[in-house]
């Protein structure tokens, strides 16, 4: 090397070329049961994956044990079921947790899962200082977009602060919470909304920590340093890169100005990424591979805002669960990018770019205004409780869908260049998708049953009573939770104990007063059909939009509710996590003309059966349609059960959906005439 400094190269202190270390490679994984997930993790680690990202099933996320009646259809579907310490022993079998960076995507029950991890470490004799990883614990995005909250906002925030306090003293390398704007984009957030809602959330967490006043100044700075973010990288990758640069700069400003953090390393914006699944299409799914690559670029190209960990969806995620091979393909993409290309050899390649700088500036200015608005309102918690943030997201989502409907937003293979040759990737005997063996739930239930039978029942009860008392007294709950974990208390028992003290939260749905921006011929066709119905029957058609089960992704249901109103229906929509019994009771009492279900968790067959059983109980014949991620191979069975129409992500045209629904309703004999 010559003495002359080459600006384009990254060098070490001796002037030797020294590329950056790659980000952590993860795959968000977990399914079936603890044993199957353990095997999967060990295989993935042997393939060059460098961190674990655990996906939990919906009952675990919502605080129910597998033997609860609402869990039955969901066990092991979208992640691994964890009932007690026994499952963690199986899940981490032969995995050295002291060497892992473990990310747990868990929110409502994050304190519980961390307690299990702590109990496991202590059992193995691993010093807690060695534990490294993250519990997501971002309740705000759960209230807004994903729906696995349990307790009211203030109590949830209290639990988060408890974890910060505990971790700082006991597990200093653990990130107790991780502000997640990922699902906000999935729910339709614009880059400005992603920036402002995520930063307002971080401010809410830090304000709550400050308010408890349990840390010295130095400790508080460390807390700030532990805040990490989890973001979404969308397809408009230049804008997305600018968003990441804006995030970095704004976080520097907030930590310096609002929190007076003096130590530079605690002001760094640390983030992990899962690239966008929202834009992945069910049509021509092979195109998704390119989308995933492009989306990865936004968060890796720019050294000043490069992610610390990356996980990529699989090309077939819009169809159903990916197979191990699909996940391997995604991991290989990261490895190609990091090891084959020269990406990591350069300093920031966009520094000084006028375009990038002014775009970043514009995003920052807008986001600052929005953050100020939320702070003026009383902060993120207030903006959740009064429904402001939710209604803003629903609004963005309706705008986005309106644009897809009117072809203003091009999606290749969906609303443009839709004719294509069928993908050979889909022709394997498994149909190109992964299905959880329904029998595998038995294994989970056996482990749960054995753990309950074997444990010291008195000790379990005593630790639960102490947890409840501590919650009533406002004490830090972490030590009590760890005691519960060691006493083999179950996920459901832990969550129920706190439900008893805090109650369960039911947030605003955000659909009130929403308008669609659609006014084409199709809208008037649908409206005239609705008017015709109204004229014949003397009243408007009524639809109950139901979101059954534990899957909280409510975007689809919200869009249908807003579109139905737009078409002239009277709409009953009561939010997420309803039982089929509750949905049918609403439909019966309201004498609805049609029930529309939205199910994305893969539990449609079980739930539809429960729903029809309940309709039979009331002797009610109300037509039922269903929308969600439903593989074609299930269509026939669902129709045989009585489902009148099935909508999948292919059916993005809202008015076509509404037209099919009004046609079904109009053909029904009038219920009373």
């Amino acid at each position: 090397m010559s003495a002359e400094k080459k600006e384009y190269l990254l060098v070490d202190e001796n002037g030797q070329g020294k590329p950056d270390k790659p980000w952590i490679f993860r795959t968000y994984a977990g399914h079936t049961n603890a044993k199957a997930s353990n095997e999967l993790y060990r295989k993935n680690l042997s393939k060059g994956q460098t961190g674990l990202s655990i996906a939990f099933d919906l009952p675990t996320q919502c605080g129910y044990s597998s033997d609860h009646e609402v869990s039955r259809p969901e066990i092991g579907k979208v992640g691994v079921p964890i009932n007690s310490l026994e499952d963690f022993r199986i899940l981490f079998d032969q995995i050295p947790i002291e060497e892992m960076n473990t990310s747990m995507t868990i929110n409502g029950t994050s304190m519980w899962l961390l307690s299990l991890y702590v109990a496991l470490a202590e059992e193995r004799g691993v010093p807690l200082e060695k534990l490294n990883g993250t519990t997501q614990n971002d309740l705000i995005k759960e209230y807004l977009a994903r729906g696995t909250y349990i307790y009211p906002p203030k109590d949830s925030m209290k639990i988060i602060v408890d974890m910060y306090e505990y971790c700082l003293h006991k597990i200093p390398k653990w990130n107790p919470s991780n502000i997640c704007s990922y699902h906000l984009q999935e729910a339709g957030a614009t880059p400005v909304q992603e920036l402002s809602f995520a930063l307002a959330t971080a401010i809410a967490v830090l304000d709550a920590i400050k308010e408890r006043n349990c840390f010295t100044e130095e400790e508080f700075e460390q807390c700030v340093g532990r805040i990490s973010f989890f973001v979404n990288a969308g397809i408009r990758f230049v804008e997305e890169m600018c968003k990441m640069r804006a995030f970095t700069e704004m976080w520097q400003e907030i930590t310096t100005e609002r929190y007076k953090v003096k130590t530079a390393k605690y002001r760094v914006f640390r983030y992990g990424v899962q690239v966008n699944s929202l834009g992945l299409t069910e049509e021509q799914p092979e195109n998704n591979a390119w989308r995933i690559l492009i989306e990865s670029l936004g968060v890796t190209l720019s050294r000043n805002a490069r992610c610390r960990a990356l996980q990529l969806p699989a090309w077939n995620e819009a169809l159903s669960l990916p197979r191990p091979w699909d996940q391997q393909w995604s991991l290989r993409l990261q490895q190609v990018l990091a090891y084959e290309t020269d990406l990591l050899e350069y300093p920031d390649i966009f520094e000084g770019s006028k375009v990038i700088e002014s775009k970043v500036k514009a995003l920052k200015e807008e986001a600052k205004l929005e953050i100020q608005k939320i702070i003026d309102m009383g902060g993120a918690l207030v903006a959740i409780e009064n429904g402001y943030m939710k209604s803003q997201l629903v609004k963005s989502q309706t705008e986005r869908l309106s644009k897809i409907n009117s072809n203003e937003l091009v999606i290749v293979g969906k609303n443009k260049w839709t004719d294509g040759i069928k993908s050979p990737l889909m022709t394997d005997s498994d149909g190109g998708i992964f299905k959880v063996d329904p029998k595998s739930a038995e294994q989970t239930l056996n482990v749960l049953g054995e753990a309950k039978a074997r444990r010291n029942a008195e000790l379990a009860k005593k630790s639960l009573d102490e947890l409840k008392q501590a919650a009533k007294d406002g004490k830090n709950l972490m030590p009590f939770s760890v005691a519960c974990a060691k006493a083999l208390v179950t996920t459901g028992e832990w969550a129920d104990a706190l439900r008893e003290v805090y109650g369960e939260y039911n947030p605003p749905t955000g659909v009130d007063g929403q308008k669609l921006f659609l006014s084409d011929d199709k809208v008037s066709t649908v409206r005239s059909k609705v008017e015709a119905f109204t004229k014949t029957n003397g009243h408007r058609p009524k639809i109950v939009v139901g979101k059954p089960g534990l899957d909280g992704h409510s975007n689809g249901a919200e869009m249908i509710a807003v579109s139905a109103k737009h078409s002239g229906f009277d709409v009953i929509y009561s939010g997420i996590r309803l039982s089929p019994e509750e949905i049918v009771q609403s439909a019966v009492e309201e004498n609805a003309n049609v029930i529309g279900l939205s199910i994305l968790s893969g539990s449609h067959k079980e739930i539809v059966k429960q729903l029809f059983d309940e309709l039979t109980h009331y002797k009610a014949k109300i037509p039922v349609v269903i929308g969600g991620i439903i593989p074609e191979s299930d269509f026939e069975e669902l129709k045989a059960m009585g489902i009148r129409e099935i909508f999948t992500p292919k059916d993005y045209d809202l008015m076509s959906i509404m037209e099919k629904i009004i046609d079904i309703v109009s053909k029904e004999p009038a219920l009373v005439s």
Partner: protein, 329 residues
């Protein structure tokens, strides 16, 4: 489908047993345009199957948006099941949302979590259809029907100012729900509706001192207008908090023990006059008052014992229509 005598009678008998689907179907039929004949048949059938029994108490719950009416009702339901094991209640929630398409999103169920399959509780939403007064044109008839099936019928409406009045016209006991220090007091004094509700609720009393200061403010405001209150005694004021589960049991006990009923003849005449005004305007009212109602009013006044035959709404409506028809010709 239910026009034949036989099936209506079946539907009514099932409804009287509390079965949800028949009740729902009857309400939909009442909510249908041109329903006079159906109503006649329905109420005749009801009087045949359920003669001379006491009608349910109607309770109006109204107040500004955000006062927490629905959550309060949700908590009332929960306690009702516990404290009134042999009684049944229904809720009609009127949602003001409406837009150009005429469609609506009815979100009130969201706040009221109901037990499943329990025939002691029934919840029904209604769009207000832009009608002033917070009531839907069919609300009155739906309530009349539900009073035959349920011991208590709650009507929840959103109102700001004068519009609360109409709900109190069709309920035996009406509550105005306010938030602590909402600044509502002065507004209500101005709009002159303080004398309308039978009782007041200050909801969201999550914090003691704020609750108390609001309570005393309202009390002194009411004292100020005491002279114009119907019976010149101060109406009760309840302090409630859903999150702290406070004051709601007292509220429920008050409702369960409430005995006074409003005169249903007055109610019938009021609703009829509203209906005529909607359909035929002041002209219709003039004809009705001159020729029909005046006779009735005289009869009502002239009978000192009060033993008046109860007015039948549909009969009166028919009389008015035919009278007005003759004038039009």
């Amino acid at each position: 489908m239910i026009d034949t005598k036989e099936s209506l009678s079946q539907l009514v008998s099932e409804a009287l047993l509390g079965e949800k689907y028949p009740i729902a179907k009857i309400i939909s039929r009442i909510e249908t345009e041109k329903n006079l004949e159906f109503r006649e048949a329905l109420f005749q059938e009801l009087s045949l199957q359920k003669p001379n029994t006491k009608e349910g108490l109607t309770i109006g719950i109204t107040g500004t948006p955000g006062a927490g009416k629905s959550s309060l009702l949700g908590e009332l339901c929960r306690l009702f099941l516990e404290f009134a094991p042999d009684k049944k209640m229904a809720i009609v929630a009127i949602d003001p949302s409406s837009n150009v398409s005429g469609g609506s999103i009815l979100g009130d169920r969201t706040r009221v979590q109901l037990p499943r399959r329990d025939i002691r509780l029934y919840f029904r939403s209604q769009p207000s259809q832009l009608e002033l007064g917070g009531l839907n044109p069919y609300t009155y008839h739906v309530i009349r029907f539900l009073r035959q099936v349920f011991d208590y019928v709650f009507i929840e409406t959103v109102g700001i100012g004068q519009n609360e009045i109409s709900v109190s016209l069709i309920s035996d006991l009406s509550f105005l729900v306010m938030q602590p220090l909402g600044g509502d007091q002065v507004q209500f004094m101005k709009s002159g509706i303080m004398e309308v509700p039978e009782a007041f609720i200050i909801n969201k009393c999550d914090e003691e001192s704020l609750a108390n200061s609001s309570y005393y403010m309202l009390e002194s405001t009411l004292e100020f207008i005491k002279d114009i209150l119907p019976d010149q005694s101060l109406p009760p004021i309840f302090k409630t908090s859903v999150t702290k589960r406070k004051g709601i049991e007292e509220l429920l006990q008050y409702i369960l023990q409430y005995q006074r009923r409003k005169d249903k003849n007055t109610e019938t005449l009021t609703q009829l006059s509203q209906w005529i005004r909607n359909e035929y305007g002041r002209w219709g009212i003039a004809i009705w008052e001159e020729l029909e109602s005046s006779k009735w009013n005289r009869a009502v006044k002239q009978n000192p014992l009060g033993g008046i035959q109860k007015l039948k709404y549909e009969e009166e409506e028919r009389k008015v229509v035919s009278l007005i028809q003759t004038k039009i010709k």
